[in-house]
Amino acid sequence: MEYVIQVSDVLKTYPVAAGEFVAIDRLSLDIASGEFVAIMGRSGSGKTTLLNLLAGIDRPTSGSVRVAGADVGSLSESAMAAWRGRKVGLVFQFFQLLPTLTVVENVMLPMDFAKMISMGKRRGRAESLLELVGIGDQADKMPSTLSGGQQQRAAIARALANDPPLLLADEPTGNLDSGTASAVLKLFADLNAEGRTIVVVTHERDVRSVASREVTLMDGRVIADEGARREVPV
């Protein structure tokens, strides 16, 4: 079985006034290619810390994090940025679209950074991604003129800009009404059906309807892992 994510015995601590705060406590987790994993848990359980480790935004205190073929902890900052631009698509709760670029320009920006797609093809690809997420007619508008759901779709299109094998989303429906949230989750499900690996951090139960696997964290540890693909010995 091919694993896109292999987290081995990872410890992540933060220094606080009282000493060391353990955010991730000796956690191990493997995610196979093509899985749709929902990482759930209460606030403070370590969900976002884990996502940040997977995205290379943060580094583990100890243990190893291998994502999309790279040992995230050992990459330099510039190598990490290059790797992230090519291999990982990130979706945030508050969209993080640049307000002075149009929607299509926001989608083109990661292509400018990664330089995987030739300059002449970038706009066409950005427009087709916007069509894919259902907001092709909003391409030349400014993000502030879009609804929350449309902005999240634009953010998902931006995450797909360089066709990464892995999509990481941190509470992608947390700022959306339930109808729009369902539509966004359906979009994630469609992207997963195309073979893309998706990891969504959420504390909303709705994601169960679309995720193939549900990992529950508490105090930085996995306390439940439902729907994991198991390797069958031959």
Partner: protein, 233 residues
């Protein structure tokens, strides 16, 4: 920078031009104020140094164990001037005194500087406004910035107590600007200048206990250099 980032930069600048303008103005004002402070600081340091050097400050002051006759000290100073490297020497004394102005006691002490009436004032000098050294017998010159501190004016009578215990009434004849001293209000001390003739008493010739000498400073100061008549280079 990618073309999209250039576009973004242009739009960001357009979107927040008023804020940027205010920032530029604030920076300009800050730089002007900072530059002004630097300018004043530099000018003050330069002028303070020049003013101090204009007093021909003594390189050293030799304090005697006890006062000696002013005539004797004049001979000692003349002898000192013959020593290698010494370009000027003069006998002086100074004392602190309680002070009365027109019979009214002041609670600010007076630091009194005393020189012989024929002292050429070529070392540790000061500027008399108006007039020149020496003040007449029975007269006192007061530091310019001591007037307000002591509540005294030119023409008033100031009574000082000499080291020998005599109370001597002196008329304020003029003022002195002495940039070698810190400001009187800062020190909370008045400054007075008089000649030995004002302290002389019958049967007790004037005496001094300081020998101020000035040595050649290697040409660092122009006045010192010209007086030494042998500058480097």
């Amino acid at each position: 920078m990618t073309s999209l980032l250039t576009v973004k930069l242009g739009r960001d600048l357009r979107a927040s031009w008023s804020r940027l303008l205010l920032m530029a103005i604030a920076n300009a004002v800050s730089l002007m104020v900072f530059g002004g402070v630097l300018l004043v600081w530099g000018a003050t340091a330069r002028e303070t140094r020049n003013a101090y050097l204009s007093t021909d400050p003594a390189s050293a002051t030799i304090l005697f164990d006890k006062p000696i006759d002013a005539e004797k000290l004049r001979a000692v100073a003349a002898e000192a001037r013959q020593r290698p490297g010494v370009i000027e020497a003069a006998g002086r004394t100074q004392f602190n005194s309680e002070v009365e102005v027109n019979g009214s006691r002041r609670f600010i002490p007076l630091q009194v500087f005393v020189a012989a009436p024929d002292d050429p004032m070529r070392v540790a000098n000061f500027r008399i406004e108006p007039g020149s050294w020496p003040p007449a017998p029975g007269e006192l010159l007061i530091g310019r910035d001591s007037l307000g501190l002591l509540g005294v004016a030119v023409g008033d009578t100031v009574t000082v107590e000499t080291p020998s215990g005599d109370s001597v009434p002196l008329r304020v004849a003029g003022t002195v600007y002495d940039p070698s001293l810190s400001p009187s209000p800062q020190e909370q001390t008045g400054r007075g200048y008089l000649s030995t003739t004002s302290l002389a008493a019958p049967g007790r010739p004037p005496s001094l206990d300081q020998l101020k000498i000035q040595v050649f400073d290697g040409g660092r100061s122009q006045r010192n250099c010209s007086r030494a008549r042998r500058c480097w280079g």
